[in-house]
């Protein structure tokens, strides 16, 4: 416990500071290890697939499709990674650091694509732009069947484009939070020292935002790896395809679990390398807060900024929403009934309570890593944030197997005591669902919170302690206000992600208890995409609520944060 030992030559101030740390350090392992355990058990269940090696399935995959799938997956990762970095960081810089027409609108509007499930955008895109769609249909009317050129929509480029448009908000939101909390001091200093606006961006702002940008990109890439719905709509085969092929096609859940655990190892290694590469550099905030001086864009610069934001917003949100509205228009009278209110309430309730549980868990983990810098805590935190990289159905089955294992145990115990134990205790309860969401979405909450926490210098809480604040006051008056942009981002991301989540919700929900995502599944599973427009739109509307919350609160918390830093 290195953190607990007083550093050499302790003066009164340092001793007091280290006792503050000592207090905060007291329970961290007891907290971080159980949380990691919750994630670890389902993962171990999946890894246990290796107990029965499946040579035949492996040989078949290796001889036929596996090589191509791996190449496809890497190409997709590269394309999506480059795309979300460019769009996410670029747009975040524009909306948080510059001034151009429409900035205040795009600042929040560019988060909206997050509320749209990726496979829905994929379906809309193919519907509109493929050979049989209205766009190419019109072109054929004008120019004849062979008289025009159009890029192949169902292609590598197409699937990358769609995934970038859906996933860039992760980078956008985290980078935006980072830029906004950088404060103006650092950037002003850079400018005063002779850097131009571009120099200040590339040499100061960007490196300082690196943990946030890396966390956002990692989320986008983990979702890309785990995705099945979007690539299935494009019939673009990735490593996930092999997992589902082994399970549903070859009836071999063991082999599917083995493939999935390899995917997990790959993600764990990559994350480890990234953290290594970032090394021991700290990214503490070095200046007083306050809104930065925005760079005033004029002339064609401003036009370009507005144009880029408009283009992304239209392609990722406006266009698919219009298409969904057009579809929903035809069926709304036949389909919209009182059940939709239930579906909406269920969805919102799940999203919000899961966000509460998950964000709390992520906060505890982030503090644990800050105050307990040993290998065990580090490993616990790393494990706890792996759930997001697994294909949803595989993780759902891992969790289901864990829960039924506990249920079966409880039932046999109950019978041992002579009770008539009928029905499962955990499986099919809301509590089980929340646990599943915690396992799956801890990474999503941890990213924004940890990258915000990393920017708070140790000297701030220490100073607060010296000035007589109790540990509780340090938490509520120093940490939480400074963390609030990260916490809000985490709440928004988890709420929206949970509302969109399908596999775990389907498998673990209580009987007769449906959500909007379940309804979308019911309709799309047999190809009735047009009818799915109605629950999809309702889902987007539900997703708007947390976005609005974030917009309102982030405006207010900017002031609070400024005050707290000056305290």
């Amino acid at each position: 416990m290195a953190a607990a030992q007083p550093s050499g030559g302790a003066g009164a101030a340092q001793a007091s500071a280290s006792s503050a740390r000592n207090f905060l350090a007291y329970r961290w392992q007891l907290i971080s290890l159980p949380i990691a355990g919750l994630v670890l058990v389902p993962l171990l269940v999946i890894f246990s697939g290796w107990l029965n090696p499946e040579t035949e399935t492996w040989r078949h995959l290796a001889e036929t499709v596996l090589g191509e799938l791996i190449v496809n997956t890497l190409v997709l990762l590269l394309g999506v990674g480059a795309g979300v970095l460019m769009l996410g960081v670029g747009l975040a810089w524009l909306t948080s650091m510059c001034r151009f027409p429409g900035r205040r609108f795009f600042d929040w509007a560019l988060m909206l694509p997050l509320a749209l499930p990726a496979y829905v955008l994929a379906f809309v895109f193919i519907g509109l732009f493929d050979f049989s769609g209205p766009v190419q249909g019109t072109l054929r009317e004008w120019f004849g069947p062979r008289g025009y050129w159009f890029p192949e929509v169902r292609s590598t480029g197409g699937v990358i484009l769609v995934m970038v448009l859906v996933l860039y908000p992760y980078v956008y939101m985290l980078a935006r939070t980072a830029f906004l909390t950088q404060g103006r001091g650092t950037l002003d200093a850079a400018r005063m020292l002779g850097l131009g606006p571009w120099g200040a961006f590339f040499r100061v702002a960007l490196p300082m935002a690196r943990p946030a940008i890396a966390a956002g990109t990692a989320l986008a890439l983990m979702e890309t790896l785990a995705d099945f719905g979007t690539v299935a709509v494009f019939n673009y085969d990735t490593f996930t395809t092999a997992i589902y092929k082994a399970w549903f096609g070859l009836f071999n859940l063991q082999a599917a679990a083995q493939l999935a655990s390899l995917l997990l190892l790959f993600v764990a290694m990559t994350l480890l390398l990234e953290r290594r590469a970032r090394g021991r550099s700290r990214y503490a905030e070095g200046s007083r807060g306050g809104q930065p001086h925005r760079i005033h864009l004029t002339g064609w610069h401003a036009g370009l900024a507005t144009g880029a934001a408009t283009l992304v917003f239209s392609a990722a949100f406006l266009l698919p929403m219009l298409q969904l509205l057009a579809w929903a228009w035809d069926i709304v009278r036949a389909e919209l009934d009182a059940r939709y209110l239930d579906l909406l309430l269920n969805t919102l309730m799940l999203g919000i309570s899961a966000a509460f549980v998950t964000v709390t868990g992520a906060l505890l983990l982030a503090f644990a890593r800050r105050y307990q810098r040993d290998a065990l805590t580090g490993a616990a935190v790393n494990i706890a944030t792996l759930g997001y990289a697994l294909p949803g159905s595989v993780l759902a089955v891992g969790i289901m197997l864990t829960l039924t294992g506990v249920d079966n145990f409880l039932q046999s115990v109950a019978r041992g005591f002579g009770f008539d134990a009928s029905g499962p205790v955990l499986t099919g309860t809301i509590a089980a669902l929340l646990l599943a969401y915690l396992v799956r979405f801890l990474a999503v909450a941890f990213g924004p919170i940890d990258s915000t926490l990393g920017r708070i210098r140790d000297s701030l809480p220490e100073a607060a302690r010296i000035l007589g604040a109790t540990p509780r006051e340090v938490l509520t008056r120093v940490f939480l206000p400074l963390l609030s942009p990260g916490i809000l981002t985490a709440i928004l991301l988890v709420t929206v992600d949970v509302m969109k989540e399908m596999p775990a919700t389907l498998l673990l929900r209580p009987f007769g208890w449906d959500t909007l995502a379940v309804r979308i599944y019911e309709l799309t599973s047999e190809g009735e995409w047009e009818r799915a427009a109605l629950p999809a739109i309702t889902l987007v509307m539900a997703g708007l609520l947390p976005v609005l919350l974030l917009v309102i609160r982030s405006a207010r918390s900017a002031n609070v944060a400024g005050r707290a830093e000056r305290t």
């Binding site: 078949h60 995959l61 036929t64 499709v65 193919i126 493929d130 050979f131 049989s132 190419q136 054929r140 069947p145 169902r154 019939n235 395809t241 589902y244 092929k245 399970w247 549903f248 096609g249 070859l250 009836f251 859940l253 309730m349 919000i352 309570s353 509460f356 549980v357 159905s393 089955v397 289901m400 197997l401 039924t404 249920d407 079966n408 134990a421 009928s422 029905g423 499962p424 205790v425 499986t427 099919g428 309860t429 809301i430 509590a431 509520t476 939480l480 596999p503 389907l506 498998l507 209580p510 009987f511 007769g512 208890w513 449906d514 599944y521 019911e522 309709l523 599973s525 047999e526 190809g527």
Partner: protein
């Protein structure tokens, strides 16, 4: 912060109190057939008998894994799927009970149920050829195998091989023609593709209508749905292999679980679902064909014409599915 922190806890407490389980004497169904196709039937059954039915829907794979994991404690009395392959696999994993019921034997033709009575077909889904009435000439279409002929080069559209309907189709071809011959045919299909395989049947038909290709293989109810919405579409159904083994059919169906708590009630429900009364609704809700031969198909569906269908037992579709998947991988059918 401290002031509001009690609220989430209260809300959580309220949520956790939502009852997890069903009433003790409800029949519990795990269904891969979607809700709006089963709920009207369940409601009708409840009204008639007073027996309640609770259910959850999901894909067959996860539901099967759940029943298996729950073991003797499973609440599930019945598993419903939309293809024979998954029912065969459920029987293979020993989670379905053998049901002796003269009623089911009478209502359901032998090739549409398990030889050991562990699963039963409840509706027939015919997978046939749909073609462009503008560009396909009489006599060009004969059979599924015929679509591998070089005369179809650049004229064929297909749905992905990852869909179980195509896996069953190819599995049944393996049963009939052997692996070598079937692989040649599938390679022929792949050579003839006008564009990479589609993710669903409707998209494949729309491509035929738009002129990207001339024919495709789909389940008839997708054709019905498309034509109901756009009656002017220049597409028609062709029934292949009529002088041979007949059209490939699959089923949606169900079985009673081995550890069912309400086994007798579940069998009664199954018998009712196969009866004249229920079969009309069961099949026509999704423009499928009834399994019970005493029941006529929906008039709109019947309008597509009579056809000879394959009478090989559908258990083969499950038994040979893995081999079909591997074969299609080798042939480069994505």
């Amino acid at each position: 912060m401290t002031k509001i922190s009690a609220w989430p806890l209260l809300i959580m407490a309220a949520i956790l109190c939502i009852p997890a389980s069903q009433a003790a004497d409800d029949i519990v169904v795990y269904s891969a057939r979607k809700e709006h196709l089963i709920k009207p039937l369940f409601d009708a059954y409840t009204e008639k008998t007073g027996v309640n039915i609770t259910y959850i829907t999901d894909k067959a794979g996860p539901l099967l894994a759940r029943i298996k994991a729950e073991g003797a404690n499973t609440p599930a009395d019945m598993l419903m799927t939309v293809d024979a392959g998954n029912l065969w696999q459920a029987a293979n994993e020993d989670i379905l009970a053998s049901v002796d019921s003269p009623v089911l034997d009478k209502h359901i033709p032998a090739h549409l149920r398990d030889p050991d009575n562990r699963w039963f077909g409840l509706s027939i889904r015919a997978r046939t050829i749909v073609y462009s009435t503008e560009r396909v000439k009489d006599g060009e279409l004969v059979s599924y195998e015929g679509l591998a002929d070089p005369s179809w080069k650049g004229r064929l559209c297909l749905r992905t091989s990852k869909k179980v309907y195509n896996q069953s189709l190819v599995a049944m071809m393996i049963a009939r023609l052997g692996e070598e011959k079937t692989e040649q045919i599938v390679r022929g299909w792949v050579d003839n593709l006008a564009t990479p395989p589609f993710s669903n049947d409707t998209k494949a038909m729309q491509a035929v209508a738009a002129g990207q290709c001339d024919a495709t293989i789909v389940n008839t109810y997708y054709y019905g749905r498309l034509l109901r919405k756009e009656p002017d579409t220049k597409l028609a159904i062709f029934w292949p292999n009529q002088s041979g083994n007949g059209v490939h059919v699959n089923i949606s169906g169900a079985g009673v679980t081995k550890h069912a708590r309400h086994s007798e009630a579940a069998i009664k429900l199954l018998e009712w679902l196969s009866s004249t009364e229920a079969q009309n609704m069961y099949a026509s809700l999704n423009m499928e064909y009834p399994v019970n031969t005493a029941v006529a198909a929906d008039p709109y569906v019947a309008g597509w014409g009579d056809f000879v269908s394959d009478t090989t037992n559908l258990g083969k579709a499950g038994e040979l599915q893995a081999r079909a998947v591997m074969l299609m991988d080798r042939a480069g059918y994505k």
